[in-house]
Symmetry: C2
Subunit: 513 residues, 2 copies
């Protein structure tokens, strides 16, 4: 493709002055600007639909995709419509005069083309790509092309460069402590809310643990959704810093703090494409942790037939990749392989999972033992990053902090520091027991199926919706005995979930124990 001559490009770029108008349209990650088609000030040769444009006001520039409208009521001839995300990113009131200029695609797209053609990229190429992606300069198809190219092959040096560049492209937190710990779970296991127990234990011990989490994407609850039952989670980076400095830890949503923003953009295209690539996943996780200022990291890889990682071989490959990358990036990383064959705890869905967590923290006799044990094991591992703790003493120290109430107190401090949640969530009042159609011993529980049912019930949007589990693997059930309870708030969702659960409840039995 012939590159435009830069001199002429500049000549054609006198730009046009237009008044900003907000266009009430959520175009997601992509910035969209709209002009009136055939408006005299906009030369059609220069301002074509789907060309990329620069919108400049003072020193600030937002890059957008240009669309046209033929309705003067929507966009006047001297107006520039900005769809909601572009309007927000420009951050100026309606009526502000801005300059609109055509631009060529970012130069780094040339490097993407080389990658597509099978070349290996230099570190500077990758840095330029990531910088342009993080500042929303790429169109979605350009992001998709980069991801497919990167997923098809990345050298070790490319992977390191990508991870570093992603970590560097947004906020990088710096803490006044030599040791900053973090933990991350690869995910996929319903109810697995260990972070909300590990963070208060570790903070109570006195280590710094600035934890950010995601909201649910395909699951019925992310840690951020569950924490939001108890406290506000959409903190900005300054608020997050204050909470960590006050409490030693936090449990905030990663969406507002701009740690590795290129990662957020890449994930938003990876997900609908279903790109499931080991290297890209590790780069994503490590870049977030580097940006958060962590110095020691523990990764939890649950393994099971319906977990993200299906077998020990795959878990081992992933472990080696984390260890290797962690060493090269100056963020030594350990991996624990855990049992991912069934849900952890008894609740699936934000309110139910928050209840499990608070039962564990408050040493309630009804607290789910498996969630408590797993959290203690992971917290024990993280605590041993403390040089003052003897090797092997982590688990006992974690148990001491949990049993003695130190962890609960730390959690309460974090909740108070983050502030109250935007709305008070209560458990869904529509309930139905799903029962065993035969007697037997539970042989397996399908995580994906239970996730799916909890989502049908309304989670995570309805925080009180979800599933409350009565029977786990190895439990005996009689015919007609309840396996779990469906909770919902809306009749339509309740019906959908119950109907689907009756058709296929996700449990498998051994006929004769």
């Amino acid at each position: 493709m012939p590159k435009p001559v830069t001199g002429d490009q500049v000549a054609a770029q006198h730009g046009v002055a237009l008044q900003v108008r907000r266009l009430a349209l959520d175009t997601g990650r992509e910035n969209v600007a709209v002009v009136l088609a055939g408006s005299a000030s906009l030369r059609p040769e220069v301002f074509r639909s789907f060309s990329r444009v620069a919108i400049t006001v003072g020193e600030r520039t937002v890059i957008a995709t240009l669309m046209t409208s033929d309705d003067p009521a929507l966009i006047g001839p001297t107006e520039l419509g900005l769809a909601e995300p572009a309007f927000r990113r420009l951050g100026e009131p309606e009526g502000t005069t801005v300059r609109l200029s055509p631009i060529a695609p970012p130069e780094s797209v040339d490097a993407v083309r080389r990658k597509i053609n099978g070349r290996t990229l230099a570190t500077a190429d990758i840095e330029a790509i990531v910088r342009d992606i993080a500042t929303y300069r790429y169109a979605d198809i350009e992001i998709a092309a980069f991801l497919v190219g990167a997923a098809s092959f990345m050298s070790t040096e490319e992977l390191l460069a990508l991870t570093r560049a992603m970590a560097d492209a947004g906020t990088r937190l710096v803490w006044k402590r030599p040791l900053v710990v973090d933990k991350h779970c690869i995910g996929g296991i319903p109810g697995n809310r260990t972070s909300m127990i590990v963070v208060p234990i570790v903070a109570a011990h006195g280590l710094l643990i600035p934890k950010t989490s995601s909201r649910a994407i395909t699951s019925p609850a992310g840690t951020a959704d569950t924490m939001e039952v108890l406290a506000r989670v959409d903190l900005d980076v300054d608020e997050m810093r204050r909470v960590v400095e006050t409490c030693g830890g936090c449990l905030v949503w990663g969406g507002h703090v701009r740690l590795s923003p290129a990662d957020d953009v890449l994930i938003s295209v990876e997900r609908p494409l279903g790109i499931d690539n080991r290297e890209l996943m590790v780069a994503s996780i490590m870049s977030k942790k580097l940006a958060a200022g962590s110095t020691r990291l523990l990764i939890d890889i649950p393994v099971g037939p319906h977990a993200k990682v299906h077998d020990a071989d795959e878990a081992m490959r992933l472990r080696k990749l984390f260890e290797f990358l962690g060493d090269r990036l100056g963020l030594p990383t350990d991996v624990v392989i855990t049992d991912g064959r069934q849900p952890i705890g008894t609740g699936i869905g934000p309110v139910l999972e928050a209840r499990d967590v608070m039962q564990v923290l408050s040493n309630d006799p009804a607290a789910p033992a498996d969630l408590r044990e797993k959290a203690l094991r992971i917290a024990g591992h993280v605590l041993e990053y403390d040089p003052a703790l003897r090797g092997g003493a982590g688990y006992a120290r974690a148990k001491e902090l949990l049993d003695g109430g130190g962890a609960l107190a730390a959690m309460q401090r974090i909740i108070d520091a983050q502030g109250p949640p935007p709305t008070r969530a209560t458990l869904g009042h529509l309930t139905e027991e799903i029962v065993a159609e035969q007697a037997g011993v539970v042989a397996a529980i399908d995580n994906l199926r239970l996730n799916r049912l909890a989502r049908l019930a309304g989670a995570p949007i309805e925080k009180g919706a979800g599933i409350s589990i009565h029977k786990k693997v190895g439990d005996h059930v009689d015919r007609g005995e309840p396996l779990y309870r469906v909770h919902a708030s809306e009749p339509f969702e309740f019906d959908s979930a119950v109907t689907a659960a009756r058709r296929e409840h996700g449990y498998r039995f051994l006929d004769r124990p």
Copy 2:
């Protein structure tokens, strides 16, 4: 990525009845539907921003990407906004009640994922992908992922399957003649309007030549733009059929006839990504010709330092690929390699190129000899597909038809049958001679530079804008003698082009002849 359970999917798909409202927004190839955020009838779990939705009325379904608006003035709570392309494709008036249902991405996207992961696809996979692309079921990022995967590697069988599937995915013309000829030029050479001379010669001889052409994309004129100076070109497929049956040939724009519509969609994503892949290009050309019902095809590959194909090796590889594919697809294909070192004819831009063409057809002594010779050579080759013509007699027969006025008469019939152009285009009245800054013999002319200058002057949007060439390679010029004339209609464009031409006119000289 876990696949949604189909049974539940159905359960969640009761759908919602909404009234269509046209949204004056050109979203290009992508169908976009807009609903009011938080509208009670739209469950947020089911209707999420950027999910894919089906819009159904009667038997017809249009697939679209869903966006949300928070402005009830733009979209009411029981309305479904359809951006212009989706509104047009649905083809129902505003106020029509339609059903909106969430859908999973097309199943063929799974095959795209396998391709990304390096697998070879079965013919049935490729057919499903192409069918879904041709019916606008793919999101842009999915198209980009398929293209990058296909560009990175395609087996011969995959390439054949892709070409066949593309040809089958739209209209397929069938003619009541055993012999239907066509010609195609790989492009990149300014002024190279041989089709507009070859088609009337071949039609005058009595062979069927149903020619469709593209509009300019990155060049200052496509054959469709130039033909539109003389006649209407946006015929639909029935109109095209009538013209060919009456006149033996046509010169219409390919945009309305839906020959290989998947190709149009793929190209619209290939282009901004700058994917320049030999296999994809050949599949694109062959699919269009198969769909047009051609049985013999001649390909013109111009070779030159600023042509699309730079050297004889690359031309030979391309030739072999065309020949192989043509044989396997039942469309025997020949290739002529031509001189692509400089523009053909004297005009660059629609009106100027149309003038060259009509001068050649009317045997005007001022007609450019190079355009005449190249057209005769190609027409001669195509005419020899006629079994009644002796081998080697094609050129003489073409010359006879051109010199005797038969070709001009055929062109006049085609122009009359296609109808008058939408507007009468006249040559740009703003002119300026660009002169040599030194004496010498012209050693080379930069095609890309002249294309770029003609576009700056306003072509192809301004049909009368462009460049009229005085000097070709081998000509002697004195210092200060004109090389070419810039034509424009708009002062701003005129200034841009003249300024750029003065800075770099695109000619190189031998100092001493």
